[in-house]
């Protein structure tokens, strides 16, 4: 095939989009609508994952030290801890700091501990974070045989529950995104298919004039691709603008919730969606044209 022929295909596709403007508009806007929804779901899913990771990363092991260790012993234990595989961060908390924290946790009822001040029953401890939050049980087990550590606490039940919850949330998120992605593919190719249906007679005519199947296909493929691409362009514009304002608003009104920063997503989603739009448009068109091109 000559380059010039390809130019012809491209021009045909553009002209066809313009001449069938009503139909082009309907399909482009459907593609855009579907991708906006997919984008919303994708961003939601990614953010849920992001927040879940953030919560998980706060999980920690408390290693209580034996009573009456001197500073050197304490720092030796610290040295050993750092060398244990899987540990990311180790922080010493003295018994006095521990009491203060505990009081703070109790809030209004903290006064109850007032009496204990003199004779602080709390031990010194190390607060330990693991590189991989889900490895916490294994890491905790490793610490058992370090001398000077009398007790290892990491709220097994709570941590297990948390991971179960984040695991489920991730699963549901992933399932939702997958379902939405498939449904989007389905709707987009269906939409493009309907535009091909409306012109199935032309395809027959071209065949009787001696056009090869690919000669007929190319302009339709390019047209589908362009429709998909334009739809995707609209959708990423909407998604980017909305997400920009969302992150801004949330940062102001709900600083507790940490969303994925705008900048780090913009590029990937834009490129990804353009590619998806173009591909689905071309595929939807290509698949539906097959039926009419054959025979």
């Amino acid at each position: 095939m000559r380059v010039r022929t390809f130019g012809y295909f491209f021009r045909q596709a553009v002209v066809s989009i313009l001449r069938n403007s009503l139909m082009s508009f309907a399909s482009v806007s459907s593609v855009a609508a579907v991708l906006i929804i997919l984008g919303m779901v994708l961003l939601l899913g990614l953010n849920v994952d992001y927040i879940a990771s953030d919560i998980e990363s706060q999980v920690e092991i408390t290693a209580y030290l034996a009573d009456g260790l001197d500073v050197k012993q304490v720092s030796e234990i610290g040295q050993k801890l750092i060398q244990v595989k899987g540990i990311k961060e180790v922080k010493f908390v003295s018994k006095d700091e521990a009491l203060k924290e505990f009081k703070k946790q109790l809030g209004d009822q903290g006064d109850l501990l007032e009496g204990i001040k003199e004779d602080n029953p709390l031990p010194d401890f190390y607060r330990i974070k693991t590189i991989n939050p889900s490895d916490i049980s294994e890491v905790a087990a490793e610490l058992d045989n370090i001398e000077g550590i009398v007790d290892i606490v990491y709220g097994k039940e709570v941590v297990d529950k948390l991971f179960k919850l984040t695991g489920w949330t991730r699963l549901i998120g992933l399932a939702t995104i997958t379902i939405f992605a498939f449904v989007s593919i389905f709707i987009i190719s269906n939409t493009i298919r309907l535009t091909v249906f409306a012109r199935r007679k032309e395809i027959g005519i071209m065949k009787y004039i001696g056009a090869t199947e690919w000669f007929i296909r190319w302009p339709f493929l390019i047209e589908g691709m362009l429709l998909g691409l334009i739809g995707a362009l609209i959708s990423v514009s909407v998604i980017n603008i909305s997400y920009y304002y969302l992150t801004k608003t949330v940062a102001q009104s709900l600083p507790v919730i940490k969303l994925i920063p705008f900048d780090s997503l913009l590029y990937k989603i834009t490129v990804g969606f353009m590619a998806i739009g173009a591909l689905l448009g071309a595929l939807g068109s290509g698949i539906s044209i097959r039926r009419f091109v054959k025979v």
């Binding site: 010039r4 071209m206 009787y208 004039i209 199947e213």
Partner: protein, 228 residues
Amino acid sequence: MIRMFGVSKIYRNGIKALSDINFHIKKGEFVFIVGPSGAGKSTLIKLIFREELPSSGQVIVAGRNVARLRRKDLPFFRRKIGVVFQDFRLLPDKTVFENVSFAMEVVEASKSEIRRRVPEVLELVGLRGKEKSMPSELSGGEQQRVSLARAIVNNPEIVVADEPTGNLDPETSWDIIKLLQQINLRGTTVVVATHESSIVNMLRKRVIAIEKGRIVRDQQKGVYNYES
């Protein structure tokens, strides 16, 4: 060039459009197919460029058995045959110029070739000045002539025309028939299905008459009707 051996065609709804058709049209011949409405003329023509396949029998066109053509050879086979369709079959989204040039784009003719040839052919069929019109903006006869222009633009070996003058006044009809004759004189095989008895009677070419799907007459230098 075009041979049929014991061809019959039964459509999917059970209608027997052709039965036991046998003939041989040689290279360079000019043949009229005549017969009443619904006799099977269009079906016969559709068998030639393989719009339809025969239910039985052999159709051999330009040395190829149409039933045995592989899918990838089909377009190249069809390019040897220029067809004027009874229902025109113009591409509704393309202008007159584009409809004709499309046939040349298909064979990847050069841009300069297309720019030279398309206006020339449109001139021949009397459609100069209509290049930019869409098919929906043409009169019936004008559409028919676009279909003809498209059929002849690539100088095919065979031209088959299904009632190419059905929507034309006698004078324009004569111009078109003369055009087909010229093309024929240059060696192209021409097959015309028609109802225009005056034209058939005047030209005295070979006439194949069909009635109810059967050849009832195959006559050199024939006329439209035996009795007339």
